[in-house]
């Protein structure tokens, strides 16, 4: 088992190297640093000197892979690739194109993100599974039918409308919570309540329907018939037998996103003015700050790889077939 996890870890490192090379190619081959400088400076201010200055300030003046001007080990280290890509593995994120310390920004901004995402994730999971179980319990009845109709309707509405509608109703019409903003400490609750609620509601349609499909798939299996043949009640069959087996496919989709909760939600954070990593990313995109986008891509991949390993580990908890092999 530990050998397996170790192997997955090493595979994860290879994946991250792949991501790194891919992002580097995307950011430095499609456009040269000169192109980026010109785009950032704007058409009016482009002069060769301004471009050089822009590059020098941000460390893009070095050669991409090999520096012929220096010798020894520095031939490799005094390059853009080393500075901007290799150092990411040491979590040295460097400075943004605006000159801010990215590592510091991330370490302060990930907590508000988590404060929104974690409750939304946990409450959401509980709500979706309960809703799906309810539909599976009343399968092939009117209740199930309208449940599915509601799900399809809800998943056809863009997240943007959930947020706008939520802000309008709870913030503006009923004045229950502030429309946007954030504050530390216990004060945060009044700012977080609405984003969490909307996060949960906007996911109901897709997730509850998906889980329902998983439950129905399990309900048609032979072991469920065996359980019924024992004289067990439908509720016990559902909770004792079906739920436990259905957790395996559910976990596949769920555990992998847990680390990514740190990354925040782009849209929610920007609408509610929560100073998390999501709005950080959106701002970076808006300002065309390539350094931050690069770092976020890498960070996202790191968290995803961690998620994959967590998924593997979680199987051992619910699936004895994995645990004992």
């Amino acid at each position: 088992m530990s050998g397996y996890i170790l192997r997955r870890l090493i595979y994860g490192v290879f994946v991250l190297i792949g991501v790194n090379v891919l992002t580097f190619a995307l950011f430095f081959f499609v456009n040269t640093p000169d192109d980026m400088a010109r785009a950032q400076l704007g058409a009016k201010r482009v002069t060769p000197e301004a471009v050089e200055k822009w590059k020098l300030e941000r460390g893009y003046h070095k050669p991409l892979f090999l520096n012929d001007k220096v010798s020894g080990f520095e031939r490799v280290t005094e390059t853009v690739f080393y500075d901007k890509s290799v150092k990411l593995f040491a979590f040295q994120f460097g400075e943004s194109d605006q000159g801010r310390n990215i590592g510091y920004d991330i370490s302060t901004r990930m907590w508000p993100s988590l404060a929104v995402q974690l409750p939304a994730f946990l409450i959401g999971l509980l709500v979706y599974i309960s809703f799906a179980l309810l539909m599976a319990f009343f399968r092939a009845t009117v209740l199930d039918f309208w449940g599915v109709v509601l799900c399809v309707l809800m998943m056809s509405i863009s997240t943007l409308f959930y947020i706008i509608g939520g802000q309008f109703i709870f913030g503006k019409l009923w004045n229950l919570v502030p429309i946007s903003g954030y504050n530390g400490g216990f004060d945060a609750i009044k700012f977080l309540a609405l984003p969490v609620l909307i996060g949960v509601i906007s996911g109901i349609g897709g997730n509850a329907r998906w889980y329902r499909t998983i439950f129905l798939e399990e309900i048609n299996k032979d072991y469920v018939r065996t359980a019924r043949a024992k004289g067990l009640s439908e509720a016990r069959v559902l909770f004792r037998h079906v739920l436990q087996n259905a957790m395996i496919p559910i976990l596949t989709g769920v555990v992998v996103v847990i680390p990514l909760l740190f990354m925040g939600a782009l849209i929610t954070e920007s609408f509610f003015g929560i100073p998390g990593l999501g709005s950080y990313t959106i701002d970076a995109i808006g300002q065309q700050d390539f350094a931050i986008v690069r770092v976020m891509v890498f960070l996202g991949s790191v968290l995803y790889v961690i998620g994959l390993i967590l998924t593997d580990l979680s199987y051992t908890l619910v699936d004895p077939r994995v645990r004992f092999s």
């Binding site: 032979d222 072991y223 018939r225 004289g231 004792r240 395996i248």
Partner: protein, 675 residues
């Protein structure tokens, strides 16, 4: 049956609703089961026997509903009970076990917990008393090391062990009636024998009644007191096992018996039932079997037959007995006429050189482990197999599932890459050929598979499927010639050339298997590997296919490598037989040597485990304990010694050499030496 029956079923009707009109899967079924008695419900697939069982338990799938009838258990009609009361019946008074033990247990729950659930549902026991009862039950089903096994999960058990767990679960509350739905169909014959014996013993000691659902007349003969034959949703014949096996009355039942290979004798054609079971959404105005019956009377198709008494408590639903009742039961027409020819031809080919020689064939599958996925061991699926196949003759390769017999077939065709050995075909080593040379040689050896549904691509027309081999191997001159060949092939296997433009889904299993045979024949091979070609088919269809294969062999001088787990089919088809165990051949020789005078203890127990379709036959004595060991770590010495009843000490240390017992008979057993 003067006493009141335990279970009384009257006019039970169950429909399945789908896209089209409802399918009457169970259409007016009535029978009684007395307390303590075993009642067998026999029939081919799709006849409604499983639906009947599920209807009794009210465990039907969502699409099916019971539309009428009465099911009385001790005088109480189960069909009108509210669901909550029905739950009290299930598991306590009526218990059920299913066909697929592998799928019927919850994979993420320990077996102990699953049995305990049954115990605590219906009894007042709790805590340690439940645990004790679970172990008691596992002991009762002869689960070795029960106290430890309670904490294991289903995937850690073999198929036979899982079925024991199912039985333990069913016995938890001493039910009055046990419904066993094909309880041993998914198991190997040696394990089947163990499970059947267990069921028989338990039934006797618990005094419970059993409704045994099966397609296997051998199992019926071994187990039941009463039998009912189902066809197309209704029971067509019922009676005590003794009289039924002595003289089956309904033409359908007779055909079932006549299509058994072991009944016919190897030199006769098997009786086959033409056509297919009529679709069950149809409303029947006459006998359901009329259109396939060889003794059909003019009014059979128009008038529903009534029950006629044909013997002591023996009844059949057939018009024949309205008139002929008093006369002697009509005798089956002999199919022996071709027998002489077949026997004559058998002698011919003796002595000619081998068509294909397999020498020390090995197929290993690597097991990768550790950080770098190094190969840490091998699954030795085939571990040094040597065979000679002669032109125009059939070599039967027999063994239990997992013994590697299918891998031999695929390995010699290079459908899986062999690890070592030689396959000599026409002087050249088939395994050493390069891609181009291999392709040229592929004409000589073809293969037919087990699953008729998977062996034809659902997206390719029949004609195109048959043309594929011709095109790939460049057989035939031009498109017109290819089409002519295809027409001839289809005619040859008993199908109309008109079907070329149709798709596989329009054909039944038997027809598909014919098409697959035609496809193999298309490139005019000398040898066909038949990989369990009839295992997925009902006996009456099996008979058609076996007859066809025999005829083709006779006409074309084909050689077959006939792979099967079914001893009676092997007995019927093969000239030579090789018995495989854990990747190696333990005994081989002529069919008479191996099947009539087996010398290896494994062959002996394999033969003994086959239930004979004759209630008079002696019950098998030499039983095989335990399961097939893993081919990753085969036991030391003789692979068979841990299960062998007669093993001596050095069996555990030395693998036995081949012992030549006669000119044709070879066995690998230390005990066969002195002969």
């Amino acid at each position: 049956m003067s006493t009141k029956p335990l279970l009384r079923v009257r006019d039970l009707r169950t429909q399945i609703h789908g896209d089209g009109p409802p399918v009457r899967a169970v259409d007016g079924v009535s029978f009684d089961i007395a307390a303590g008695e075993t009642f067998a419900l026999v029939g081919e697939s799709g006849c409604g026997k499983s639906m009947t069982a599920l209807s009794l338990m009210r465990l039907l799938p969502d699409a099916a509903t019971i539309t009428g009838g009465v099911v009385e258990l001790d005088g109480q009609n189960l069909l009108v009970l509210p669901e909550s009361q029905m739950r009290d019946v299930r598991g306590r008074r009526v218990a059920m076990i299913f066909q697929e033990p592998g799928l019927s247990l919850n994979p993420v729950m320990t077996i102990g917990a699953q049995i305990a659930e049954s115990v605590s549902r219906h009894t007042a026991l709790s805590g340690a008393a439940v645990d004790a009862r679970v172990i008691e039950l596992l002991d009762a089903v002869r689960m070795p090391d029960a106290a430890r096994r309670v904490n294991e999960y289903p995937f850690q058990l073999s198929g036979g062990m899982k079925q024991r767990v199912m039985i333990a679960m069913a016995l938890a509350c001493d039910p009055a009636l046990l419904i066993a739905d094909e309880p041993t169909t998914a198991l190997d014959v040696t394990v089947q024998a163990q499970v059947l014996e267990l069921l028989r013993d338990l039934q006797r000691s618990h005094g419970m009644a059993m409704l045994l659902i099966t397609h296997d007349l051998g199992v019926v003969a071994q187990m039941a007191q009463q039998v009912a034959v189902m066809y197309a949703g209704e029971i067509i014949e019922t009676g005590p096992v003794q009289t039924f096996f002595k003289g089956p009355a309904h033409p359908y039942s007779r055909k079932l018996f006549d299509s058994l290979p072991e009944r016919a004798g190897r030199n006769r054609m098997l009786a086959a039932i033409p056509g297919a079971v009529p679709p069950l959404h149809r409303l029947f105005t006459g006998c359901r079997f009329a259109e396939r019956c060889d003794r059909v009377l003019p009014h059979c198709a128009g008038t529903l037959p009534a029950w006629h008494v044909v013997g002591d408590e023996h009844e059949a639903r057939c018009h024949l007995y309205a008139e002929v009742a008093a006369q002697t039961a009509p005798g089956a027409e002999s199919t022996a006429d071709q027998g002489a020819q077949i026997a004559a031809r058998r002698a011919q080919d003796e002595g000619s050189g081998a068509l294909l020689q397999v020498k020390d064939l090995q197929v290993y599958f690597p097991i990768r482990k550790g950080l770098l996925q190094r190969v840490s061991g091998h699954v030795r699926a085939v571990d040094g197999v040597t065979l000679d196949i002669f032109p125009g003759r059939t070599l039967g390769l027999v063994g239990e599932s997992g013994c590697g017999k299918t891998t031999v077939g695929k390995g010699l065709l290079r459908l899986v890459a062999p690890t070592g050995g030689q396959v000599l075909l026409g002087g050249a080593d088939f395994l050493a050929l390069d891609r181009k040379a291999l392709r040229a040689r592929r004409r000589d050896v073809q293969i037919i598979f087990q699953d008729p549904y998977a062996s034809l691509n659902p997206r390719v027309r029949i004609g195109d499927a048959l043309e594929e081999g011709l095109l790939a191997l460049g057989v035939g001159a031009g498109a017109a010639d290819r089409q002519q060949r295809i027409d001839a092939l289809l005619t040859e296997v008993g199908l109309s050339p008109d079907i070329k433009g149709r798709y596989p889904h329009e054909f039944s299993g038997g027809q598909r298997q014919r098409i697959a045979i035609a496809r193999a024949l298309s490139v005019e091979p000398q040898l066909i590997v038949c990989d369990e070609p009839t295992s997925a088919l009902d006996v009456s269809v099996q008979a058609q296919i076996l007859n066809l294969l025999k005829r083709l062999q006779r006409e074309k001088g084909l050689a077959y490598l006939f792979i099967s787990h079914n001893m009676s089919v092997i007995d019927y088809m093969a000239d030579e037989v090789a018995v495989m165990y854990l990747g190696r051949i333990v005994e081989q020789g002529s069919v008479d040597d191996v099947l009539r005078a087996p010398r290896h203890p494994y062959t002996q127990s394999l033969l003994a485990a086959v239930p004979a379709a004759d209630p008079q036959a002696a019950r098998p004595v030499l039983r095989l304990a335990g399961d097939l060991p893993s081919p990753v770590n085969p036991p030391s010495g003789c692979h068979f010694h841990p299960r062998c009843a007669v093993a001596v000490t050095h069996c555990a240390s030395v693998y036995p050499d081949a012992q030549r017992l006669s000119a044709t008979h070879v066995a690998r057993c230390h005990l066969c030496k002195q002969d």
